[in-house]
Structure formats: structure tokens, C-alpha cells
């Protein structure tokens, strides 16, 4: 027994010494690339299906993206480059895209990759029996065919501007492994075979997903030998693991970025922080099918009464930007000529009174004896909840009675969004790279479960969105989407609140991370990352 205790004590002492040594390590010395090493990161949720077209959740997509390739991918400046395709040509009438596929590529199981795999994937994603939310983009392809083993042709009835983007997001699946399988429910989804840098090594449910390098990778061998993604469902625990050195990177929140790191210099010695424009924006949306939100004056009055700068400073500690269109600030598609609606209480009151509202004895606006009152719904997301509280305070100040309700995501979507049983929401959309906003703003997309759940309907916007999809010349497209952005901003069916920065903390032992983040994001070149031998930890066996 004593020996056993002594052993435990010894191991603790040795353990402490080790961490002491690591803490004193200078990670800033330049060290040339060395292959090998294990990168450990964490995610909140566990992937449920590694066939991305079926899964639809971000955890699954993140892992699947390491295993599978699409035909195209984004380069670091967000232009297109070949992934499984070597090159591609678009016909003069914009209705036909010919992809020249890379030759001599093999799947991880050594079977050759051919055009038949691409054709098979297209057939699966457009098959009505496949339970995928992404089918509609590919159903626009009127015919798909293989000219030979290495030439894939997709033809459209009409020019479709976002076509290349769709081919950059469809993971190509191996026909030889799936042709006799039910894609909705196949073991392959948990044990996939791909063509990308990594292959699945081991998946311990509820604990971690381990990837190892794929010797047949289409882009050659990455420097990192293995990648472990631990499943840690709580962000505070993830942060503690990052500080303890048990995970190498994570997305952090504004408080951690601008309060915790500056106050703890020992963290800055071992962790680098990266700030880039995030991929989404947060908005305050109205149910336009309900009164009083069908009244433009009311929507504008609310917009004038909300102090967006205060929200950015309060919720994001200034780590975000105000937006006026659904496009990344500073990118080509942003309409820079839109005048912002800024915080102005008197204008807000003026508009409310113009719509017939008067302050009652309780200092709440009312019309025909009915007070101006509504409920803001949001999901359990701290930033959104705080945003709702700030909005509530400002609206209360001018005389609008607002209550807040925070709901768990699944019931939020199923009970309120899909049924249209809500008045106002604080929610987010992603900032897409292609300007197409058809699924969010076209009046045909307001059915149950569709994205135009606020019920926006404007024939001019419908026309613009339809034309925008057919227009392939960027200058003309830009005009279309500039007008679209202006109409949406003028009509305020949603109030754009902010686009927050993506904040990433990466341990300094990870080398090869670009100092200046390219538009495609800090992870763009993660295949070039490496961990020098002297910084590697012993791999944990979980």
C-alpha cells in the first residue's frame, strides 16, 4: 500500500515538474516544419453522421470536411480552386460546366476515384429518398454525365450563378462502397472512406474522434500525423482545458479575448489569439404576418430606438461591426452606400405617433386602447440573451413593453419558428460568400420549415433575387444585390444588429499558422500546421 501511495506521489511530482518545464518553454523560436505530432481540439456536440449532406450539423461537417473533398474549394482569397477537379470550364451561355477531374486519385481503401463517383453523389443528393436539406441546389442541374472517367459535365436549363459554390460544398462519396447501401442509414456514415488529408482512426462515443493521415490524400500528406477532436459540451470547461494545455485551440468569447488574456500574461506566453471577421450576423426579426409589425413606421421606430453601438460594446466588448447588408463588411457584395439608421429616440417617438400611438398613463404607447407590447424569443445563447435584454431596456425607455423568453433550440425551432407562433426574435444568419439570398428573402420560401419564416414578401425583391441567380457577370450582379440590400434596409423587416468577430486561441506550439489571417480564415492552411518534436505531448489514451 505504501509503495502504491509513494508511486502516486512520485507520479504527481514528476507530472508537476513536467508541466513546470512546459510552462517555461519559449514557444516563439522559429523551428522548421517537422511532420508528425497530434493536434487536439474540442467541439461542443458530437458528430452524428459523417456524410455531410445527411448530417447538416456543424460538428459533423467539421469532421467530414477533413475526410472528404468536393470538386472545388475556396482559395485563401475566397476565389475558387480545384479540389478533386483539376480545372473547369463554363460554356458561353453559362448553362454548362465541364469539370476535368484529377487523375490517378485513390480512395483511402486504394480503389480508384473516377467520374462515376461524382455522378453517383449527384444522383444521391438529388434523390427524393435521400433525407438531405441541400437537394434543391443540385436539382437545378438538368443533366449530369461523365464524358469519360475524368470529365464530369453538369448542365443547367438556365444560368445559375451560385453553381460553382454548390460544387464547392458537395462532398464526393465513393460509389463502390455506397451503391448497395441506404444512404440515410448506413454504417459508412460512422466509418467513412474519403480522399482528403485524414481518415477516421478511432471514434469513442461521447469522448473523442481521432483522425489519422490518409496515405492516398489527393493533396499529399499533411504535416500533422493525427488530429483528436474531444467532445467537451461546455465552453467554460473547454477554456479550462485550453489553459491547462490539454487542448491546442478553440474559439473563445469576447470576455476571454479582451479580459482574461490581457490580465494573465502567462497565457500570452503560450497561446496566440487571432481575430477575423466572423461568419455570421445577429439580427432582430419581426413576424411580418402579425400586427403591429406589418407597419413600416413601427419597425423603423424600433430600429431608431435600439442603440446598436451599445449592443456591440456591451455584448461583444466592441469585438464586432454594425452591418447594413447580409454580406461580410468590407467584401465586394456589401452595399457601402446605405445610410445607417442610428440611435435617435425623438425620431422613434415621431414615427410611433405618426402610426397613431399615444403614451398612456403607464408611459407605454397604445393605440385604440391596446398597448404596444410584444415578446422577444431567442434560443439559449448568452450573447443573444444579453442582446435581447439591451433591446428590451431601450424599448422600455421609449414606451414599448417587451418581455423576453429564452428557449432551448429544438423546441424554439419546432414550436415557434416552424409554426410562425412568435412576434419577434433575436437570431442569426450566416454571412454567405455568394450573394444569393433567395432562400431567406424570396416570398416563395415562407412555408413551414423554410427560411423566410418572418413572412417577407416584396415582388421587386423576388424579381431581383431571381435575376441575381441567373446573372453571372459580377458587375451586373453587384447592381442587383446592391438594390436588394437597399430595399431590405429601407423596409427593416429585420434590424441588423451586429456581425461579431471570430476569435480563435491557438497554442503557440502549433507552428505554421499564418500571422495575417487570409480572408478564408485562420484554418485555411491547417494542412501546413505542425508541432515541433520538442513541444509534442504524449498522446493521451482515453
Amino acid at each position: 500500500m505504501h509503495k502504491f501511495l509513494a508511486l502516486i506521489f512520485l507520479s504527481l511530482v514528476v507530472g508537476c515538474n513536467n508541466s513546470q518545464n512546459l510552462d517555461n518553454t519559449n514557444y516563439d523560436d522559429p523551428i522548421p516544419p517537422e511532420s508528425g505530432g497530434v493536434l487536439t481540439n474540442a467541439m461542443i456536440g458530437e458528430p452524428n453522421n459523417l456524410i455531410a449532406m445527411i448530417a447538416g450539423d456543424s460538428a459533423s461537417s467539421a469532421i467530414a470536411g477533413q475526410i472528404f473533398n468536393a470538386l472545388l474549394k475556396y482559395d485563401q482569397n475566397l476565389g475558387f480552386e480545384g479540389d478533386l477537379a483539376d480545372s473547369w470550364t463554363i460554356s458561353d451561355d453559362y448553362k454548362k460546366i465541364t469539370f476535368n477531374l484529377k487523375q490517378d486519385i485513390k480512395w483511402a481503401d486504394d480503389k480508384p476515384f473516377t467520374c462515376e463517383d461524382v455522378l453517383f453523389t449527384w444522383k444521391k443528393v438529388t434523390d427524393p429518398d435521400t433525407r438531405t436539406p441541400y437537394g434543391s441546389d443540385y436539382q437545378l442541374v438538368s443533366s449530369a454525365s461523365c464524358a469519360n472517367n475524368h470529365i464530369f459535365i453538369a448542365e443547367y436549363d438556365e444560368p445559375y450563378a451560385p453553381a460553382l459554390e454548390t460544387w464547392a460544398s458537395l462532398h464526393i462519396l465513393p460509389e463502390h462502397l455506397l451503391k448497395n447501401e441506404n444512404i440515410n442509414d448506413t454504417y459508412f456514415s460512422l466509418n467513412p472512406t474519403g480522399t482528403n488529408f485524414y481518415a477516421l482512426d478511432e471514434w469513442t462515443t461521447g469522448q473523442q474522434v481521432k483522425l489519422k493521415t490518409n496515405p492516398n490524400s489527393v493533396h499529399g500528406r499533411p504535416l500533422l500525423e493525427k488530429k483528436i477532436t474531444r467532445i467537451i459540451p461546455d465552453l467554460s470547461s473547454q477554456f479550462m482545458e485550453l489553459i491547462a494545455g490539454n487542448i491546442d485551440l478553440m474559439n473563445i468569447n469576447p470576455i476571454q479575448y479582451s479580459r482574461v488574456f490581457p490580465s494573465r500574461s502567462e497565457l500570452n506566453d503560450k497561446i496566440n489569439l487571432y481575430k477575423e471577421m466572423g461568419n455570421g450576423y445577429t439580427y432582430f426579426g419581426f413576424n411580418l404576418k402579425k400586427k403591429p409589425f406589418d407597419d413600416l413606421n413601427i419597425r423603423k421606430a424600433i430600429s431608431y430606438a435600439i442603440n446598436k453601438e451599445e449592443i456591440i460594446n456591451g455584448v461583444l466588448l466592441g469585438l464586432g461591426e454594425e452591418i447594413t447588408s447580409p454580406y461580410k463588411p468590407g467584401t465586394y457584395w456589401e452595399n457601402k452606400s446605405i445610410n445607417k439608421i442610428s440611435f435617435d429616440v425623438s425620431k422613434s417617438r415621431e414615427l410611433l405617433e405618426k402610426s397613431g400611438y399615444q403614451l398612456n398613463a403607464n408611459n407605454i404607447y397604445e393605440k385604440d386602447g391596446k398597448p404596444l407590447a410584444f415578446e422577444i424569443l431567442t434560443n439559449q445563447n448568452k450573447q443573444r440573451e444579453m442582446t435581447a435584454v439591451l433591446i428590451q431596456r431601450r424599448l422600455q425607455d421609449i414606451g414599448i413593453d417587451v418581455s423576453i423568453r429564452v428557449i432551448e433550440w429544438a423546441s424554439f425551432v419546432n414550436r415557434f419558428i416552424k409554426t410562425g407562433e412568435f412576434e419577434a426574435v433575436v437570431l442569426g444568419w450566416s454571412l454567405s460568400l455568394d450573394p444569393d439570398q433567395y432562400s431567406i428573402w424570396h416570398s416563395s420560401q415562407d412555408g413551414p420549415g423554410q427560411f423566410n419564416f418572418i413572412g417577407y414578401n416584396n415582388p421587386r425583391v423576388d424579381t431581383l433575387l431571381e435575376n441575381g441567380r441567373k446573372e453571372l457577370k459580377n458587375e451586373k450582379r453587384k447592381q442587383i444585390y446592391d438594390e436588394f440590400s437597399k430595399i431590405i434596409y429601407d423596409e427593416q423587416p429585420i434590424i441588423y444588429l451586429y456581425a461579431g468577430y471570430g476569435l480563435t486561441a491557438i497554442h503557440k506550439k502549433i507552428k505554421g499558422v499564418k500571422k495575417i489571417t487570409p480572408p478564408a480564415g485562420v484554418f485555411h492552411n491547417d494542412y501546413e500546421w505542425y508541432i515541433p518534436k520538442k513541444f509534442r505531448r504524449n498522446e493521451m489514451s482515453l
Binding site: 461546455d234 477554456f239 432551448e408
Partner: protein, 270 residues
Amino acid sequence: MKKIIKNPMSLAGLIIILIIGVLAIFAGYLSPFDPNYINIDAILLSPNEFHWMGTDALGRDVFSRMLHGAQISLLVGIVAVGISTFIGIILGSLAGYYRGIADTIIMRLVDVMLSIPSFFLILAVIAFLTPSIWNIMIVIGLTSWMGVTRLVRAEFLSLKERDFVLAAQTLGASDFRIILTHLLPNSLGPIIVSTVLGVASAVLVESGLSFLGLGVQAPTASWGNILTDGKEYIQFAWWLSLFPGLAILITVLGYNLLGEGLRDNFDQNT
């Protein structure tokens, strides 16, 4: 009352409850700030001379929020237990006094209710309702009456055989009168103990629900939702987790001490 004061355990419990009760009742006067006053220039300040318990992520004064949170916690605790005790007494009396089919039905219902983990039952019910403080009280009350029912029934079963009850029956007193004036006053001791202990568990359930976002809704302060706010910043803003955690701990401890002390007294009496 003398016995409560003589027993150090129940005395400590009583003092704790009284202090928290007074703080809660006079929260409006004692709070240095409006609990919902947002000041984005004072985000996450550590405890200082102006903000005794620091500020939260929206710059609101945690001390003021704690005081108002005490109102919510105690109100939920007391009203919920009031509801469950009321139901428990009625069903327990019926089962214990009349026996027979009423007893069988009520006791099987108790068994069924007890076989469902109560917190999950509450979670499931709350998920379908608008999460307001009133709904929470009602749901906690409606799902925690089983203990009182069993207790009252057991007391009635033994009291019913006692001479004074038989005497009352012989004199022609109505069932209602016998239950109300003879049986209930004599079972009051155990009922009070269970009520006091029940408040402690209701306070915990409310904090748990608010912690999970199913309790009192923002921006209203409750100890549970202050604790949730704190969870995210636990490495940096310890005051957001420590103070509500301590408050819940001390309140529950107070009710438990008082309850246990009372139980000791009643046990000695019998």
C-alpha cells in the same frame, strides 16, 4: 418556540431564515442600485466599495440582483410548498380517515408519482408552459405533495384509533369536524417539519430550473440565473458564481437546520 430557541440547530436555522427573509422583504429599500440597471461601462467589475458583490456581464449590480433574487427564491419556495402541503393534507386526510377504496386510489397515485423522478417531471411540464414564476410555483407544488400525503395518512391512521377520536365520533361529531379539530391539530408537528424541509428543496428546484434557463426569464434576477451567467466566466469573474452559490447553500441549510431541529423536538415530545 422556547424549544426552538433552546435547540442550537433550529435556532441557527431560524436566524438564517429570518435574516434572508428580512433581506428579501426589504430588497427594494436595501438595494443600492436598480437590479436591472444596465451599465456597459461597468461590465464584470470585481467586488468594490460601490458594488459589494461586483457586477455582471451587462454591468448590473450583483448585490442588488441577489437581494431581488432572494425574493423570487423564497416566494417560489413558500408558495410551492404551500400548494403541495395543501394538496397533501387533503389527500392524506381522505386516505387516512376513510381508508378503503379512497386510500387505495390515493396511495397508488402517490406510488406512481413517486416512481417518476420529480425534477425530470418538472422539467417536462415546464417545457410545455410559458416559463413564468407562477407556473414554476404551481408545477413544483403539483409535483411534490406525495411526502405530505403519506405523512398525514400515517398520522391519521394512528390517531384514528385513539380514545379522543372515538369519543368525538360517539358524540356524533361530523367527519369534517373530527378531521379539522381533532386529527389535524394533532398531526401538525410532522407536517410543519416536512413543510420547512420542503421549502429547502423547492428553493433548490427553482435554482436548478433557472440555471437551466427554464425558470425565471431574463432580465428578472434569480439566484439560479445569476449562477448561470457566472458559469461562463467562472475563471475570471468568480463573484458571479460564488455569491449565488453561497446564498442557495445558506438558505437551504437554514431551512434544513430548522426542520431537523423541529423534528428532534417533536420526536422528543412523542
